[in-house]
Symmetry: C2
């Protein structure tokens, strides 16, 4: 979803309070209205905006009461530095994402998490979870057989192993929360290093142009770019950008790559 629309929505304290409430449990309008001390009419208006943006969804229960809940996973990141005001929003990444192929980041998570992810993924046919294999001893146990097996493993169920599964999930939870904190810290660290690096590039050049060169190099840091797009990105006339690129190329910092320019690293 669009970051700007998301920031507009989140810029309202009552909408944030509604989201905080719905993250705790699905609610109906009167509940929300009572909790917030805001008129039902205003609550309905906020819910409509959140629903239109796909953040919130509703369903009607057996008693014909309409419950609202958070519709899906979403992340928003805002980066503010002297060189950057960037916003990025995205849905959760797929469980099948190959997290081992990254070049600069390794995640260390233990097997339990993987097993949980695989068990939960309906496309998955292989299953490493021992209890599930036992439950579906016949060929090709479908995903819902596995689910059935874990349902019967509730704390009240005495003839099951002592919640091996639930303890495993709790362990996963702990690992994932810690991982999230470390990733967040890592991103703050990278933000600082990026700004430092751009400062140092700026300092390389005398006078006011340093910032421009820093932006130019940054524009190429995510991959080769055609000169016109680069000019647009740094908001400078194409001929100024062309001259600057030739100057940098003469010093071996950038190079042509067909119709594009790239860092010579």
């Amino acid at each position: 979803m669009d970051s700007a629309a998301l920031l507009d929505l989140l810029g309202n304290e009552n909408r944030r309070r509604i989201l905080r409430l719905l993250a705790r449990r699905p609610c109906y309008v009167t509940e929300i209205s009572d909790y917030l001390g805001v008129s039902p009419k205003a609550v309905i208006d906020h819910l409509r905006k959140l629903e239109e943006a796909g953040l919130v969804e509703s369903h009607v229960d057996d008693g014909r009461r309409k419950y609202f809940s958070i519709a899906r996973n979403l992340r928003l990141e805002v980066n503010v530095t002297p060189y950057d005001f960037g916003t990025k929003s995205a849905y959760s990444a797929s469980p099948n994402l190959d997290i081992t192929s990254w070049k600069h980041v390794s995640l260390h998570v233990e097997r339990a998490t993987q097993a949980a992810a695989e068990l939960n993924s309906e496309e998955e046919t292989e299953d490493t979870d021992i209890r599930t294999d036992a439950a579906g001893a016949s060929d090709s146990p479908p995903a819902d057989v596995a689910d059935g097996a874990s349902d019967s493993d509730s704390p009240g169920d005495a003839d099951q192993p002592p919640n091996a599964d639930l303890a495993g999930l709790a362990a996963d939870l702990e690992q994932l929360e810690r991982l999230e904190n470390e990733l967040s810290m890592a991103q703050r660290w990278v933000q600082g290093r990026l700004t430092e690096t751009l400062d140092r590039i700026s300092d390389h050049f005398d006078g006011v142009d340093g910032r421009f060169y820093a932006e130019l190099l940054r524009g190429l840091a995510t991959g080769p770019e055609p000169p016109d797009r680069l000019a647009q990105r740094v908001d400078a006339p194409p001929d100024v950008v062309a001259d600057a690129l030739e100057g940098l190329a003469a010093h071996g910092v950038v190079e042509r790559d067909g119709d594009q320019w790239r860092l010579n690293v």
Copy 2:
């Protein structure tokens, strides 16, 4: 800075446009007003709010013109899931942060970045950058000598090595941008896995209570908690929380730790 205040500020499109403009270059009021097509009075009002929040600062140049720029590095993260509406804002992490001590995340960045960080840090006395050592051949070269050395290394300067330093910084830039993208993807992956794990914990319990148990275990996933704080966190009566914890303890999922409860993982 306070995430709520930050979201209130960023919830305005014109303030976002001002920040985007200032991230490109420092500007004075008339420039911003012309660029945005918004009255100088409104621009001044937005700038005042941004300045009060510490996002923007101003300085007066030689021609007595007041320029505004982004004051410092800041990151905001918003997490929306059926279990969570969380906001987190923080300044950049220190360059001296020990990024090797994390348990679940490893960052792979090459030496150049480290050298740049060390060169830039004024507290740093040891210096691994060869050019800087040469420039400050006498004892204890202060940080500003190093800065002077890199200033003279501009592309116009022919009697210097061919911008080895600048090319190194460009390489750092590329690495850091990629690292940032991978970290961002990693967080989206973790977000998905966390929601899956909480779903699976919910599924463990019959009926409506599953969500409550999932929240309870999540409340302990970041470390031991006293029962009253846990009750506050999951917004449930203390006796209900106490009963639930005893039930989970009987199945070995949680355990007492003095006055606190913790996951038994």
